[in-house]
Symmetry: C2
Subunit: 196 residues, 2 copies
């Protein structure tokens, strides 16, 4: 990604991941080949193979840290008492994650390559299911599940929208407010909106 | 699509569109070639070329009727008085569209191939912008724009979620309820929820 702090001296592995994200966004996962990534970086294919054997390995490396963050949020939220407090904790953390990774998150809701990878990694699929359940439990039934689906994918997609020159904290707070409205949660008095 | 009323006797053009939608969903637009579509149908490539010269022409044929429906909804909504009535009319129609085309709509929010096509068709991009404005005008400022973004992409994605054996009307009504909550709209008394 542009603005990477390491610039051209960053290790090849991280440069590969950054360029892969750019190309996945532009062409979708299935539309991006290791060949295209190597060309973009001016590297030989063998330089890539040293780090990643397949596009799926590279996609796994892109997704792994984000799934780990979501898993930690799910654990923390599930440890709280009360469906509303649990949903709110999950929402605040997820909105912060989406605002921080606003370039990347939209890829996660829409790309069939990501969906296919989630199907093959049962433990990742389980994390997403638990996140969904935290939102859906606020209102049992179809209505609650649809609202949960709207918040899950809507936050990820909306984070990537063009809102002009908006800083990360303002975007995060707007996503939290929208999610709370959808789920019927009130801001808890004195509750810090930052993810912990 | 399976269950197409015309079955194998449907005209080739419609069969091409149906199979293209299936493959776009499974592999993304960029990951689907005309070759793959012809193989899936057991047709020669020249049989396809007779109808569509490029993948983009085929994608255009997939999207055209949906964009036309959204454009008609936008026109009707804009003719109403009051930002809330306008937003609600747009929401009710959009939710009905998403419930009817629940297999197809998720493609529209996430696929970079669709986004690329929207960029090249200025009149289609303008329709989407007007739809977004109808939702965003309910609450001026960043908060309203983020809620509008959440509703736009959240409804399209959530419609494709796995809610078990839910019929179209129930899904539509749940999407309308979720969207109204997000945008801060109340159901108008006596207002029929069906799109007109």
């Amino acid at each position: 990604m542009s603005g990477h702090p390491g610039g051209s001296s960053a290790p090849t592995r991280q440069r590969l991941i950054d360029v892969a994200i750019e190309l996945f966004k532009r062409h979708s996962v299935a539309g991006t080949s290791l060949q295209m990534i190597s060309e973009e970086l001016g590297l030989t294919k063998s330089a890539i193979y040293h780090h990643f054997r397949t596009r799926e390995e590279l996609l796994t490396a892109v997704m792994e840290p984000l799934i780990a963050e979501v898993a930690a949020l799910v654990e923390a939220a599930e440890s709280l008492r009360g469906v509303r407090a649990r949903a709110d904790h999950m929402l605040v953390g997820y909105a912060a994650l989406a605002a921080t990774h606003r370039e990347l998150l939209p890829l996660f809701t829409g790309d069939p390559g990501v969906a296919a990878l989630l199907r093959t990694r049962a433990e990742w699929g389980a994390v997403i299911e638990r996140q969904m359940a935290l939102f859906a439990d606020v209102e049992p039934g179809l209505g609650g599940r649809v609202k949960a689906g709207l918040v899950m994918s809507g936050i990820a997609s909306a984070a990537g929208g063009d809102f002009g020159d908006v800083d990360e904290a303002a975007l995060r707070d707007a996503l939290i407010a929208a999610g709370r409205r959808t789920l019927g949660l009130r801001a808890l008095p004195g509750r810090d909106t930052r993810a912990t």
